[in-house]
Symmetry: C2
Subunit: 110 residues, 2 copies
């Protein structure tokens, strides 16, 4: 791969990788609605708080969320809401896949 393009694709891949986890997608979607602190998110996700904290740091390192300490909580916020538009596209892929799958199933029943 062209040396000038490589860092560009690597940077994009890092962002996508940061999103590519069920718990982190839940976090992203939730933070789009409202800011949340770690223990609220932990409750929603239902895994260990240390695990959730690590997920949050992945999102933060990718620049997808930011955090702010207030009162006795650290509140996390979604930095870029256009991410949500993308989820719509992912859903399109998923339903296209489902349709494909159905087509195959039907052709097997014949």
């Amino acid at each position: 791969m062209n040396d000038s393009l490589k860092p560009r694709y690597e940077a994009r891949a890092r962002i996508l990788k940061a999103m590519a986890h069920p718990s982190r997608l839940l976090i992203i979607e939730e933070l789009q609605k409202q800011e949340r602190c770690v223990n609220e998110l932990t409750e929603m996700i239902g895994s260990d708080m240390s695990t959730v904290s690590k997920h949050l740091s992945v999102l933060k390192n990718a620049g997808l969320v930011s955090d702010e300490k207030r009162a006795n909580c650290i509140y996390y916020t979604l930095r870029c809401t256009c991410i949500l538009d993308f989820i719509g596209c992912v859903e399109e892929v998923l339903s296209a896949n489902a349709e494909e799958h159905n087509k195959i199933l039907k052709s097997c029943k014949k």
Copy 2:
């Protein structure tokens, strides 16, 4: 996490994970312009053909590309072009990150 939501997030995460690799992003972008066969993509990416073939099967399993044998090549095509819109969003995140980074640098120089 709610049992009814979990599979949904897992499905989305699988799609994102399939995209989250520099070579696969290059493939996606290239296929949006035109269909390509494995050896063309291999040349662009510059790694072993077996590696590229595996990347393509990742994309195919996620339903992002489809393949069609014609003449003596297997041509790969992008199935869902809305993916490209998303790349735009990723770029927004990246430039927001870069701006942030600059701000920090400037504040250090003071």
